[in-house]
Symmetry: D2
Subunit: 165 residues, 4 copies
């Protein structure tokens, strides 16, 4: 059902992502803080306010928005038990060998090159800041969102690293 | 909500994927035929029956099953208008710059190395065999399934290429 | 031997790549022509002169330059028989299952998202224009350069596709 | 100069990689130890001897061998100042924004799926065990080898994680 006349709704996509993150208590400054923690030992004079501007800039990229929307919707659908089995239980249990959450996250992290991918691998493991809270929630399905937030912070770290080198 | 005791339902995942493909009129021999068309000029004595066995073998890999299930579910959800906007209209229209369908497909194609990725890029463009029918359907949302089928055929082509080299 | 004070030589890298391509008879307009051929059926009013400007812009990205330099040097080293065995004979013979040439090329193609990767897969197979000449040279080792040129053209195609969507 | 009759020298490639790693003081048990450290908190009854067998098995995969050979040769060539400028100084200085070392390493890490990629990102950052020594050597160019070793350990971790899930 491909339509040649379809016009891409970038603004709506940005608003959707910001709202969904907000509903889970995640704001652009939280993501900037993860980037800060990732880079503080490498870059002098790092500034969380300026990093937050970079987070917002990266969140305007279409590839980022598309991947974020898919992940956020899959979390919602699993939360509302709308996925078919066995995918429903795999996503709801955040099975460690699922991998599709990381596939989508790595695509975001990779937007500014491999530095983003390695930074993502690190935050995915140490689960700093807001990511830790997401990962240990008992109430909500956060299978995709914790990886998406980590990937976004990692992409901003890569963007910053290239800018100063 | 991660559970350490969760046991992965590989058999159910395989059955889910086979059934969903079947509902869209796609059988393992159709996928083997795409692989055959991809490789016929490169490998002598290629045999569709043997390739179909390889398709079934690749379809038992967990990473493949996970990516297939996510894509097939997203097509169904878009068909039933269950995705939130603007993702709903983006997936329903198979927007060329969406990209998440290709991200997931490339992860499948890459399972046997880069030969799979380049073969996927080729089938994604020329849309041979059953893929053409999927891509031009007016009734169904086939945004993910055409890429998934192409990626699977491409992965089998890569597996075969390595086996004989 | 990592040095914190090392300053990145972007201009020298750009000049290196342009010169090496030129020595093999490849100019930015040839690459723009491949992009044109890739996109002509999809985009109206495509213009090779404007595409050439995009090629030059993409060739200023550091990730692109780094990958190009590595590939171009490996071709030269194999041509001059300076690689250790068995890598020397693998690169000199452009073995189909080598794959490192495609790994580096896909990293370039992916810079503007998955559209670049699928376009690269297509040109890698059909080997249009200057790529065909490179691939069939009897005199020179062109194991990396044909993939690099195809990846560059594919990246420009992806950049253009996003710009108009 | 592609030859259809070229037969792939897998055994020679394996011997080359083992010898080069040995010359830098890296043995399969060191790599198994990195995998152990990565997985010890996740898997009970982990055994370094069994992990070393897995390291050796992964080191027999052709894609792994190809990527390892390219990286190890680039380190040697940079050490012997045989790369053209500006690539020579970029590799010799292990510039943080180079990225080709990580591109090749991630291709290895990804062989058993995304778990390998995230594990690689983590070891690339914390630089455990033998990787730390490689990274801080004053005498040798170890730009690629530290990433290759980390990627190999990460791939084995992914292989192991899938086996027990």
């Amino acid at each position: 059902m491909q339509s040649k006349n379809f016009k891409y709704p970038d603004t709506k996509a940005f608003e959707f992502v910001i709202q969904r993150l907000g509903e889970k208590g995640i704001f652009t400054k939280d993501i900037a803080q993860i980037t800060y923690d990732l880079q503080a030992d490498k870059i002098d004079d790092l500034n969380v306010v300026l990093l937050e501007q970079q987070v917002i800039e990266v969140l305007h990229k279409r590839e980022v928005l598309n991947s974020m929307m898919v992940g956020l919707e899959l979390d919602r659908l699993a939360q509302e038990k709308q996925l078919a089995e066995p995918l429903q239980e795999i996503v709801a249990n955040d099975a460690g060998v699922f991998g599709v959450d990381e596939i989508i996250a790595i695509a975001i992290a990779n937007i500014y090159g491999t530095i983003g991918v390695t930074n993502f691998g690190y935050v995915d493991r140490v689960k700093t800041g807001i990511i830790k809270q997401l990962d240990t929630s008992e109430e909500h399905v956060n299978t995709f969102i914790d990886d998406l937030v980590g990937a976004l912070a990692a992409a901003v770290a890569a963007k910053t690293a290239h800018a100063i080198a």
